[in-house]
Assembly symmetry: C2
Homo-oligomer: 127 residues x 2
């Protein structure tokens, strides 16, 4: 028994709108089964959606997310394509590494900001 979902099931569970899900399908990032007109989603579709959402949280565009999705399933590639894939994977790695640095730096800056806030609060303690 393979688990399936309606569009609003997924919308509820992943906390997005049905409109967004349909939009991702328009962009060829999803291709759910149909029962009549109704969309029927499977587990893989849910994984794809989670990948999209994760990508978005770290600032990836949908185009970039789509690339990631395609990278994740390189079955149908010839040698040339596969090498392109490897190339893109390397690029993403570089990007992720930079983002890690950026986040660490931000955390340091938040430390500083918090420190200053505490100091200012100490000054204004008598208000």
């Amino acid at each position: 028994m393979t688990q399936t979902y309606s569009i609003s099931d997924l919308a509820r569970e992943l906390d997005i709108t049905t409109r967004a899900i349909r939009f991702y399908e328009e962009q060829d990032m999803l291709c759910p089964e149909r029962r009549g007109l109704e969309r029927v989603y499977c587990a893989k579709d849910k994984v794809t959606l989670k990948l999209i959402l994760r990508g978005k949280r770290i600032g990836f565009s949908l185009a970039e997310c789509k690339e990631l999705i395609e990278l994740y399933d390189p079955g149908h590639g010839n040698r040339k394509q596969l090498e392109t894939f490897m190339q893109k994977i390397a690029e993403r790695r570089t990007q992720l590494a930079q983002q890690l640095l950026d986040i660490e730096q931000m955390q340091i800056e938040l430390d500083t900001a918090e420190e200053r806030c505490r100091a200012a609060l100490a000054q204004t303690a008598t208000n």
Copy 2:
């Protein structure tokens, strides 16, 4: 002798357009000196710009970046405001922590993707 910069100095150095810099000013994220009509930027402005760019790299909106900039200089706040600041800092920390998780997960997925690519390449080695 405090270092100053023209708008195109900064554009070159930070690899953005002058249009973008002016746009950030429109959004009250910068407020450079003027010599006549010309904008004259100081070191602090450059730091602000770097903060903006760093924020963008990890998917922050300009509005969020602006908030960060304001957090970074809490001098003029009363108690209430400072507490709001502390709150916002905490929220950002949570967000950054989530992003770290997301990036780690992505890296794992890239590992998988690369693995599959290698496998597919091995299969197609005779082409």
